[in-house]
């Protein structure tokens, strides 16, 4: 119980910190939403009046306090650009990014786990060398570039999907998901490369331990040792790394959305920053930070499942 309370407090402190940084970063950058709204030739009086109605003329700490007070009650205010509540904007965009990230994570696991095992079992075999070469290449490729390449090959040459098309989740879930597959590949492929390599190294290290020899002499088959003993032990460092990759996948999704023209959190964030739409930016950043923290928490929980020696206290 104590553990959970501790985690909850960390969550709150981190979110507070993040909101503080976001808010003050916004004070530093030039321009505000009144200028963004009225354009470059607005008069001082017009700007003053609009700022007054938006509450932008109040001192910085008053505004931060007001923002915090509303945020605690779950009210992030109204987007200055779209004139709709931030909540409704986010509830439409978050699923796009969340599904994209989830699909990417799924691909990571599904592809890199068997690959890692294969490579470790036949170290320096043809497959291992080939995969090492591939993973070295893909590791160096940033997701947005992969996104462009994927669009070019699968979208324009092979015509497997229509670039730039997006089917809203409410309209057709299957269609929506099918348009997430390619972006998800763009996000996950570099991560797959890393994860495979990491898993392989971890497996090889475990394989060199004495207990493996003991198990062998006990008469266990190589495959059995691999899946029953080695994999379990090798997974512990991998899970830590995996937790980082999930956060990375979320960040990658935000970038890849730009390439595939998906109306997710990433595009919303970029547009909102350009228009100095503070309520949207702060809410989006807080949501993303919250998700990352929760994922880390889940990763902590998983340790315990994989390795009972790890006690949470």
């Amino acid at each position: 119980m104590k553990f959970y309370i501790k985690k909850l407090i960390t969550l709150i402190i981190t979110l507070l910190f993040v909101s503080f940084i976001t808010f003050f970063a916004f004070q530093v950058i030039p321009g505000d939403s009144a200028v963004a709204k009225l354009g470059m030739d607005a008069t001082e009086e017009q700007l003053f009046e609009l700022r007054e109605s938006m509450g932008l003329n109040d001192p910085m700490f008053v505004r931060y306090g007001r923002f915090l007070k509303n945020a605690i009650t779950g009210d992030f205010g109204t987007s200055t650009q779209y004139n709709v509540s931030v909540g409704s904007l986010i509830s439409e965009r978050l699923p796009v990014t969340a599904w994209l990230a989830a699909l990417s994570v799924l691909f990571m696991v599904v592809i890199s786990l068997p690959l890692g095992l294969l490579c470790a079992r036949k170290e320096n075999g043809f497959l291992d060398r080939f995969l090492t070469f591939l993973s070295q290449t893909f590791m160096a490729v940033p997701p947005f570039f992969l996104g462009i390449i994927i669009t070019l090959i699968f979208g324009i040459v092979l015509k497997w999907f229509i670039p730039g098309k997006f089917i809203p989740i409410s309209q057709d879930f299957g269609g929506f998901l099918s348009y997430m597959v390619f972006p998800a590949f763009a996000v996950s492929i570099p991560k797959v490369a890393m994860l495979t390599k990491f898993l392989k190294t971890s497996l090889l290290r475990e394989l060199s331990f004495d207990y493996v020899r003991t198990a062998r002499s006990k008469g266990l088959k190589k495959k059995q040792i691999m899946t029953k003993h080695v994999l379990k032990n090798a997974l512990i460092p991998v899970i830590t790394f995996f937790g980082m990759l999930i956060a990375d996948a979320l960040a990658g999704s935000i970038v890849v959305e730009q390439v595939f023209n998906l109306p997710g959190m990433g595009r919303m964030l970029v547009t909102a920053i350009a228009n100095r739409d503070f309520s949207v930016v702060s809410a989006a950043v807080l949501y993303i930070a919250g998700i990352v923290i929760i994922i880390n928490f889940i990763v902590d929980m998983t340790y315990q499942k994989v390795d009972p020696r790890v006690r949470i206290s």
């Binding site: 950058i29 030039p30 321009g31 200028v35 963004a36 709204k37 009225l38 354009g39 470059m40 030739d41 607005a42 008069t43 001082e44 017009q46 009046e49 609009l50 007054e52 109605s53 650009q81 779209y82 004139n83 709709v84 904007l89 965009r93 691909f107 599904v110 786990l113 068997p114 462009i148 669009t151 979208g155 324009i156 015509k159 497997w160 999907f161 229509i162 670039p163 730039g164 098309k165 809203p168 299957g174 269609g175 998901l177 099918s178 348009y179 597959v181 495959k223 059995q224 899946t227 730009q258 390439v259 023209n261 109306p263 595009r267 919303m268 970029v270 547009t271 350009a274 228009n275 100095r276």
Partner: protein, 522 residues
Amino acid sequence: MKRRKRLFFLGLLLSCMIALCACSGSTENEGNEQKEAENGEASKNGGSVIVGITNDLDSLDPHKAVAAGTKEVLFNIFEGLVKPDKDGKLVPAVASDYKISEDGMTYTFPLREGVKFHNGALVTVDDVIYSLKRATGLLETSDPEVRVESVFSCVESIEAITTEDGKQGVEVKLNQPNIELLSYFTISIIPKDYTEQATKPVGTGPFRFVSYSPMVSIVMEKNPDYYVAGVPYLDEVTFKISANTDAAFMELRAGTIDIFQQLTYEQSNQLKDLYNIEIGNMNLVQGLFLNHKAAPFDNLKVRQALCYAIDRQMILDIVAGGSGTIIGSNMFPGFGKYYDETLASYYTYDTEKAKQLLNEAGYPNGFHFTITVPSNYQAHVDTAQVIVEQLKKVGITAEIKLVEWASWISDVYQGRNYEATIVGLDSNLSPSDIVKRYVSTARNNFLNYSNEQFDDLYQEAAASVNDEEKVELYHQLQRILTEDVASVYIQDPANLVAVNKKLAGYQFYPVYVQDMSTVYYK
């Protein structure tokens, strides 16, 4: 146990494959359907078009929209008492005619009969008065988000009248003569006291609003009640918002966008087999704008040296494959008779002369300065790069500093904290609008330009009620800007537009709009 695990992995892989196949299958089908639909449209009428844009709309309320990218879209939904045609002439729209009194103090607009809003209601005098008052800031309770043009401070009253031939109309009285105000009566006419304008816009234009999804698209359909018979041709127009030009370019390559403007020369070259590339003008004054309070640009000889050191034809050749119109002052050809084309060749490319002028100015070894360029306009960034190279030849070292658009507005445009910048200045169709920023006291005089002769002449030009005299005065004003090198004027950049080969009727306007009412399938 072991086998089950392996089966599990196999299953996962398999489901992945199925998902992939399913997705590719469905997209193929959709592609075919789309093609069939396109083939079926043989007549001039009907069909739908997808126009790619890269800026999201800043408001659906036409009186609140300030971004040029928004106005270009809303032009299809809204109309004013008058509207510009493709030659830049203002033609009656919601008004059936217009009259400007000889003293330039009264504008009279009889209303066109039978014009309907998209909600079916007839446009009444009350609606027109409400719209004009809202946009000129004369309503009793004003909305701070409505952007009121400063020029409207001259509006004294807006009243309903009955014209001599018994028509309903409105009369706008001014407190000082101004015969250039007509181009401002393009203000959108909207229904009185309609509160949902920002979410469900209602206007009188050739297309009516269907739906808007932020960051995705705005869809509009044919207005069957439009007062011009047979217009528009298209049944539906979608303005699709792309994340950026690169994403839009991919969609163009895939053929999912029918029309996309402001391509780079490079992009237009790659697309010329797939699309018709139409070339028009951007209607901007692109220049290397100088801060007259930043040394050494307070020195006329230095400014002249810049003019001689920059080869504008080369900029056109490199940035846009030779398209674009070289200009010599702060006006572009779209202004017709007010534009003085002779100034374009006032300065010629002559590095020797530039060096000599620099010598006389006391900078024999050149100097160093920074060009601040908004990073979201590739054409300006490219231009800056060419200029930097050209200036090297006369010993001037220029450095490019890329800034975000919002930073540009607050630091450069409003803060006037810069040395030089490259942007394109746009304008309403009235000639006073485009040159008035050079008046020393003008709020938007971000160049810190100050010239008494110019100030006096401007007052005279703006107040003149004689058109011939006006033309002459505006020519003189442009000449002052050129001779005094208020800035280095480069070009009215070319607008390269990709248009689906099946479409015809795409027209360029001397203002920033994309008119879909003239577009049709061949």
